[in-house]
Symmetry: C2
Subunit: 336 residues, 2 copies
DNA sequence: TTGAAAGCGCTAACAG
DNA sequence: CTGTTAGCGCTTTCAA
């Protein structure tokens, strides 16, 4: 371990002078400056951030709790966020709650112990209010992502409700008469209390239409694909919307296996594989999300801020999954 | 900020007693123990890890530098690693080098400043030896992942060479006579000096065969799909192996667009989308990787350890990309 | 069984 | 322009 004392003694100055020189603070003679920098370089000195943090009582680090490590979407946003943090001299600690309030609390404890400046988390239940309070007591800002569960917290969500409404409207416009929404079944959360709620958008779009519909609540993890298959077989929809990438993949698997190429399909969480497959999808804006996260880190406000990020519906092949049958060429895109 | 002093004064004991009580170290009377714990709970006290680290001069944190945030493979291993760390009371800081030595050095500096116990990184060039040395000087262990560039470092790699040899052998066995390997073109690294080297395995398998072959070096980022298309058109292979997920997707896009369903195809980095697409792929073992990473964190050795993780070749549909034409049923798998 | 004091590495305030 | 001193929150002697 190389400390500033080592640098100071090699440069024959006091530690505080060395510190000031290295951080270019205050007046330092050219000669001292050079000596200090030479000494630091020779020794390979890098300031101990731990000590700096203890002194300044502030870390340039945020905590990020991912609820579902199976969901590619979470990872896809990570590198943009990291890049933004880097540009602002910050770093990020990542933790995983595995959709489970107990692990979530553990994550909180560890991030609070690290005295991160802000904790971003996707709530897995509504009963971890206590640890959120502890975080606040310890001077940590807490922001909930993607699910608006705790009223008094700053919140960033994607506009899944509107996304789902648009998807539904599109399927109706394409002539679908029997729509199935594969929405999320939260393990520790009452779906009806979660905002945004895709089902709400779904029902809004269906309002006034004579189309039949059905909503299946499907778990994020440890799900049974047979349940999904049974629902499709029983209801025999002509249009399906899935709320996540994973449910989307399961649905696609079923549809292609059964060669159900007449069923129209839209899924949430666009990615490059869906693009390749020419599957229509709802695309979140990583750029806007990253911006909003940056705002949350920087801005302080007294009242909880509720931020809603609009989404794109990316239409491909008229929402038919015809890639499984034959390639086609047309692609268009509806900007929201 | 709630400190141990707050807890101590509320429990009417000294800070050192509170500290011992909370950590269950030494002799503490039942009464004191209860008082301290009650005070801590009431205040929502969580020990400041920053201060603990400064005192103990050791962090329970590792650093992880991801070289290519476009590569899903890196993310897919993250949650397993995180889970393992959690079970051992550790955490992880993630950084991104973007396949670029300058960013890589920045990542190193930041992780060294945080005094992580170990830095895992995928080298982007061979000329960052200096900062690696600085890390070591500061008591940090450095492990290179997936590319064996620095001789004197502990190393964990996937056995891409063997994986590529097997893939090649399989394609030859299936009757391919013109094989194209889309290998990686490293921006800041001489491909010939990178181990493992897929091309080596490729050539070994071809040795003695009369099949024609060609190797294309394709960049990981900022690549031009047209180059790939041109190579395929010019050489007109009947079998293709791609070294990464991203190159695989580009190749698949081209092949399906041109309806080249007679070309056999195997790609590195298996995932659920490839499984759905019934594309044959080489699958790395996340479980073994996580184990080895754990070993690296725990074990100290004097000589550099070089660890090679075997891979699976997962065969689907005889390496034909027939999902683009019609679903088929047979799947088998060759364990290595 | 508990408390007082020192110190981890760094920096801010103050003195020179 | 530079050095001395104190202290961030915690733990660890060493005494009591």
């Amino acid at each position: 371990m190389i400390t500033i004392k080592d640098v100071a003694s090699r440069a024959k100055v006091s530690p505080s002078t060395a510190s000031r020189a290295l951080r270019r603070i205050g007046y330092i003679s050219k000669e001292t400056h050079d000596n200090v920098f030479r000494a630091a370089a020779e020794l390979g000195y890098i300031a101990n951030a731990t000590a700096q943090q203890l002194k300044s009582n502030s870390t340039r680090t945020i905590g990020f709790i991912i609820s579902d490590s199976n969901n590619e979407y979470y990872f896809s946003i990570l590198s943009d966020i990291q890049k933004m943090l880097n540009e602002n001299g910050m770093s990020m600690i990542i933790a995983f709650s595995s959709e489970n309030p107990v692990d979530e609390e553990t994550c909180f404890r560890s991030l609070i112990a690290s005295r991160v400046s802000t904790i971003f988390f996707t709530p897995t239940s509504s009963r971890n209010g206590a640890i959120v309070e502890v975080a606040k007591k310890n001077g940590i800002k807490v922001v909930q992502l993607f699910r608006d569960i705790y009223e008094d917290l700053d919140t960033i969500i994607n506009d899944d409700e509107s996304g789902c409404r648009q998807a539904t409207e599109k399927l109706l416009a394409l002539g679908c008469r029997r729509l199935l929404l594969v929405d999320v079944d939260y393990l520790h959360l009452d779906a009806a209390s979660v905002r945004p709620d895709r089902s709400t958008g779904f029902l809004q779009a269906l309002n006034g239409s004579s189309a039949r519909y059905r909503i299946l609540r499907f778990p994020l993890i440890d799900y049974d694909p047979a349940v999904l298959a049974a629902a499709i077989e029983e209801f025999s929809p002509d249009g399906i919307i899935t709320a996540t990438n994973v449910a989307g993949l399961e649905t696609l698997s079923y549809l292609t296996e059964k060669n159900c190429t007449h069923i129209r399909f839209i899924t949430f969480d666009d990615n490059r594989w869906l693009e390749f497959l020419r599957v229509s999808a709802i695309r979140q804006s990583t750029r806007v999300l990253t911006e909003k996260i940056k705002d949350e880190i920087c801005i302080q406000s007294d009242v909880p801020r509720k931020i809603v990020i609009p989404q794109d519906l990316v239409l491909r092949g008229n929402c038919l999954i015809d890639r499984a049958v034959t390639p086609s060429e047309d692609t268009d895109r509806a900007d929201v």
